[in-house]
Symmetry: C2
Subunit: 451 residues, 2 copies
Amino acid sequence: MTAEMTLTEAAGNTGDGRADLRLKELHASLSDPGLDSMNFLNEITFRYPEAISFAPGRPYDGFFEVEQIFAGVRAYIDHLAASGRTTAQVKSELFQYGPAAGQIREVIADWLRKDERIDVPAASIVVTVGCQEAMVLALRALVRGPQDSVLVSSPCYVGITGAARLLDIEPVAVPERKDGFHAEDLARAVRAERARGRTPRAFYVVPDHTNPSGTTMTLEARQELLELAGRLDVLILEDSPYRLVSPGSRLPTLKALDTSRRVVHLGSFSKTLFPGARVGFAIADQTVETGDPGRTGLLADELAKIKSMITVNTSPLSQAAVAGMLLAAGGRASELNTETSAYYGDAMRHTLERLDAAFPAERRERLGLRWNRPSGGFFMAVTVPFLADNAALARSAERYGVLWTPMSYFYPDSGGERAIRLSISYLSHQEIAEGVDRLARFIEAEAAATS
Amino acid sequence: MTAEMTLTEAAGNTGDGRADLRLKELHASLSDPGLDSMNFLNEITFRYPEAISFAPGRPYDGFFEVEQIFAGVRAYIDHLAASGRTTAQVKSELFQYGPAAGQIREVIADWLRKDERIDVPAASIVVTVGCQEAMVLALRALVRGPQDSVLVSSPCYVGITGAARLLDIEPVAVPERKDGFHAEDLARAVRAERARGRTPRAFYVVPDHTNPSGTTMTLEARQELLELAGRLDVLILEDSPYRLVSPGSRLPTLKALDTSRRVVHLGSFSKTLFPGARVGFAIADQTVETGDPGRTGLLADELAKIKSMITVNTSPLSQAAVAGMLLAAGGRASELNTETSAYYGDAMRHTLERLDAAFPAERRERLGLRWNRPSGGFFMAVTVPFLADNAALARSAERYGVLWTPMSYFYPDSGGERAIRLSISYLSHQEIAEGVDRLARFIEAEAAATS
């Protein structure tokens, strides 16, 4: 096919069944394996609406009330008025275009100091359309071309691999072990990249209750990672959406421990406030040399410039709802999440208890079945004695009425073929009990068929 | 510098004045000329707050009332309830993650039929975070690599060149003439690209009251462009934010005339409803071959997949506000804009009258000064007898207290060095009168200094 023919099939052919564009004529990365998998999962979910689903990473919405949104926006308007804004200025802040970096940065900085002991200037924060956009911005700023690479703790959240593929970056997997991330594995991966002539620019990790495996890094592992990042000369992209929705005490974030600006922290209010706001942020307090000799700026400013090319600015209406909710809670998102974090903690415990009951230790061992025991977060990982692929998922849905996510979806390379992710965030206790029973029957059947 | 040293300057140097990252170590395209120019303009605006500014392309906000937002969201909630959704479902639609393609597509499709006579299935619409994201999606889907190019009517909106640079695409300028776009110029540019071995994939154009020059394509020019696009085998990216905010009758959009799915229409509610919603959309009803032989999908589905990698989904709260406002106006955004379009029309006429008065025909001719006479939209172009660069802008701000935008900002290559863009959308009649007086004094002084 010659270049001239690229779109020729389109000309006037509305009725003959031929397509206007061939898929291969669109950009190659449109067929992202992670996305295709998620599409399959969505299709299965749609096809079996009665199935109990351990698949979605959605927050529980039983505590939401529509009036909370209105109250949030009004609280922010009151805050603006109390800070001396005129009615015209308040209108302008809500209705007009806003600064690319966002208009609620002070509120976020205040919340970070109160809830996370992260003390950064508001100017180092960029408000984004969910954490997803923050990932795109960070990758776009840091990766200059094929000579640069980005490392990801694997298995990992599909959002980071999606953002990478959008920008034609092939993420390099740093395999997590059974008990989570080990610094020496990162060191090895960085050396291997350099040996290939590539420059690793950043390492993406979710230190707390990671998606998909549910593991949490110890304090020692955090300190070791920070020390190593300095020694290896890579930045850390820290993503930590499940902290304030988990019960019990929290270890400090990498950013709170970061004394030499090694960490770009990627944040989200989707789990702590509500996903529909689509508000996240990046903390990028690294200094950057600007065009003017001797004059430095912040990496955050560079991210904001890129953002202006993608979404211009985050919806001021959404920002108002988020800031108002934070302000109404005295700046503490943690206080808004006392109830929800207890709820998720109970759900996790309940799931583990039901699994223990369905598979007593001996039975579990005989089957080669095992799972981890996260203390919080939305996810846990189960290693199963059979291939947990799309075909298995389809059987599980059709015959047993239970859905889960194949762990292989979350591996940038390969891996996780015999593991599943269970999400406990969206189900009632009753659904969990029934869901685990169905899952147990499915696992027993698959194990029997495999052995 | 070796690869190993890339970030070494960062290690522990928080106090010695050195930067953590060098700008050149960030991605090269961060220094986008258009963006740098806009930053200069913002700086000047900030430095001279008392200046009258013909620079910003912001809608007039005198007609906004905060309660309109609340009323919009409530109208959408009522609409959902009236369509049979339970309270739990309504909550879920507002608070939770939503489909990547958006949840108000039916409302938008209905509005397009009523106001624009564009009749497309809701499934061919993708709701985006402003029109900016729609541009990114379309470019990302269509351009496969350096062998593909995108043509833009030049001078052009910086958003499209920004989106292109984000994706490492160098846009190819198709120069507009004094009276606007000519199809034969596009044909020539496409031939030149093919002669270079490249495949032009799409042509970006704003047919109505374009930003920056204010020109509008005639009906004949629209038909000629559509015919040519079919013959040349390129898609048209039509962007048309200034239609419903302009007085008088409107010519049909390219999409309304498009019988062979040649046009991807990029839409915005920033001017017709409010910028703070950050809601735009793409109409991509082109069929696409999928992986399955014989099965076709919509280009819109491919755009939605890419969107899931950038922003996951557009804020359901913002979507609710926009849909509610449309529904409350019987689906007609045009009815919501009767007052505003009259206001902008008056402002444009007033600006032209004051310019005519300041520079009678003979004086104008002697100076080599001329301008166009748009019947609507936010912008007009003035050709001046001196270099209208950043230095001239700084003089204009400092000595005459008036701001404008150098037209050269809007040229992907070079051009527009002796022209300025005036935006009339954000000023009162009084400000326009005083602003044109100041501008006239500035122009006279510059002309005198140049001659």
